[in-house]
Symmetry: C2
Subunit: 192 residues, 2 copies
Amino acid sequence: MKNRIITISREFGSGGRTIGKQTAEKLEIPCYDAELIHKMAVESGFSEDYVKESGEEAPGGFLTNAFTTRAFGPTNGDLLWEIQYKIITELAEKSSCVIVGRCADYILRDKADCLNVFIHANKKFRAKRLVDVYGERDISPEQRLRDKDKRREAYHRFYTGMKWGYAENYHVTLDSGVLGIEKCVNLITQLY
Amino acid sequence: MKNRIITISREFGSGGRTIGKQTAEKLEIPCYDAELIHKMAVESGFSEDYVKESGEEAPGGFLTNAFTTRAFGPTNGDLLWEIQYKIITELAEKSSCVIVGRCADYILRDKADCLNVFIHANKKFRAKRLVDVYGERDISPEQRLRDKDKRREAYHRFYTGMKWGYAENYHVTLDSGVLGIEKCVNLITQLY
C-alpha cells in the first residue's frame, strides 16, 4: 500500500476535526469524518445519529455491562467495530487521506504508511470551543466534556487495548489550545 | 519574565538531548544539560556523577524505601531537588534558553513562557542509539532502557505528581524514531 494516511485522534472540543479538514484541504486529499459515519450507517442499517454516538464512544454504563450483554453474542458496538474496521481499511487502500477519530491509528497500524496525530487542549479551551461550535445545552460544557472524555477513553481502551492520550501511541501530539488551530495544520502538513 | 524557554523531556535514548542542543544552536540561545549538572554539583557539594544519577531518577529500591528513609529528614534526593528547583528558576530568569530534562517543565509551569516538548521513540530505536552513542555495557541495552525508564518515571511522579509521557502535559510530543532528529529540531525551532 503506497498511500499515505494521516490519522487524527483528538479530545472532544480540541478542534481536531477542524484541523483534519484544513490539513486535507491544504494537501488536496480527502478527509473522512462525517462521510465515514454515512458509509457505516449505509452498511450497518443503523441511523447516522446512532453510528455517530456508538462508533467511538462507550455507551453509558459501558464498563459494568459490557461483558454481561456479550453473553448473548456480539453487541451492536461490536458489529459497528467490524464495519468500521473494514471501511477504514478500504479507504486507506483507495487513496492517501486524512481520517479523523474512530481508532484509525490502531486499525491501520501494520497496514498503511501512517502519520498518527493526537490533538488535545485544556478543559477551559475545550469548554469554550464546545459552546462556540455546538451551542449551549442543558448540561454544562464541563459536564459534557467529562462525560465524553470518559466514554471515548473507555471505548478506545476496550477495542484497542491502548492507553488513550499517551505520547508513545502517536508520532506527534499537539496542544491546540496553546499552539492554535492554524499552527497545528501547518505543522502536520509539513510533517506529511 | 519575558524570556522564552524550551523544556525538553525525553525518554532515555530517544535523542532528546541532541535535539535540545541542535535547537538551541539554531536559535542561538543557551542549552542547559551538562552545565546544569555542573552547577548543581558546585552548589550541593556532591560529585557530578552523583548529581547526574540522582537529579532525575529514583535510586534502586526507590518505591519501597522512599518514605522510611524520610523518617530521618529529607533525603539527598530531596536536597538536590531544592537546588535543582532554584537553579532552573534562576536560569529561566536570566535569558531565553533550552533546558533538557530535570522536570524543568514542572518547575517553570507558572513562572515562565515555556514551550514544553516531550521526545520519545520505540525501544528498538532507543536500544540501537544507546549502543551507538554510549557504547556497549555488561547489561543489554534493553535491560538498561527498562531500568532507566522505570526510574525516570518514578522520580518524575514522586516530585511532580504528573503522569510521565502523557500528551496533555506537553505542548508538543514527537516520535524521534519515526520523524528523525533533524525534523524534530526544525519543528521545535519553528514552533518557538
